[in-house]
Assembly symmetry: C2
Homo-oligomer: 134 residues x 2
């Protein structure tokens, strides 16, 4: 989308079920083999009681929405702030939503609120993204 087409309040989202296979693949790709993510036995003894998805795997859905939908092609990712506010468990369905909250015309920079919720409507990640639109 061109910068001139962006308006405050515009939203886009994608939903995805987070599976054990995806968590295992992300562990391999990131080399984050923290047992909380990949070992159910260890995770059961943790505060979460079950394996949890990597926060960055879930946050990567923001990258997908920003890079392919809003603003979409031409987006250059300048920054992302993330607060991991609740755990994401295997087979949770996560909806990652972005909303335009600020436009800086002079620099063609757009700031978006980024929020991920689970199938129960509970926020799991909050934050903001900063995107340059060429």
């Amino acid at each position: 989308m061109r910068f001139e087409e962006l308006k405050r309040g515009m939203k886009a989202s994608i939903s995805k079920r987070i599976t054990a296979e995806q968590v295992d693949a992300f562990a391999q790709l990131s080399t984050d083999y923290n047992p909380l993510h990949i070992n159910e036995e260890v995770a059961q003894k943790s505060v979460f009681h079950h394996r949890v998805a990597h926060g960055m795997l879930v946050a990567s859905l923001f990258s997908a929405v920003l890079g392919t939908r809003l603003p979409g092609e031409g987006s250059i990712y300048l920054g992302q702030d993330l607060r991991f506010v609740a755990p994401v468990f295997l087979n949770d369905t996560i909806t990652a939503e972005v909303e335009v909250i600020e436009l800086r015309e002079d620099k063609r920079i757009v700031k978006l609120a980024t929020t991920a919720i689970n199938q129960d409507g509970k926020s799991v990640i909050t934050g903001t993204a900063t995107i340059l639109v060429r």
Copy 2:
């Protein structure tokens, strides 16, 4: 590592070569099929002139260092701020380093500077992570 063992100034890092295969795998996992990342022909016409790795793929190395080395096991990821300050190209070797910069004893929360540099010593991502250590 236990919270009591952490000291300001402690550092840990991992290095990884970012390959086309990893970028393709991350595109599939995140559903971020932005052509800048996966299509060399489109990327050549962009400001970057070549395919660039997803920022979140590179940032996932911080998750690996934090979750497996410093603070390591017992880490609960509360937050991560990221500034994508320079592009990462295919076959770049990235070193992701974390350094303890703040300890809040009462809450068992540690703040770490997170910096990724490429093989030329150029910063590609800067930011901070916030971790609860149980």
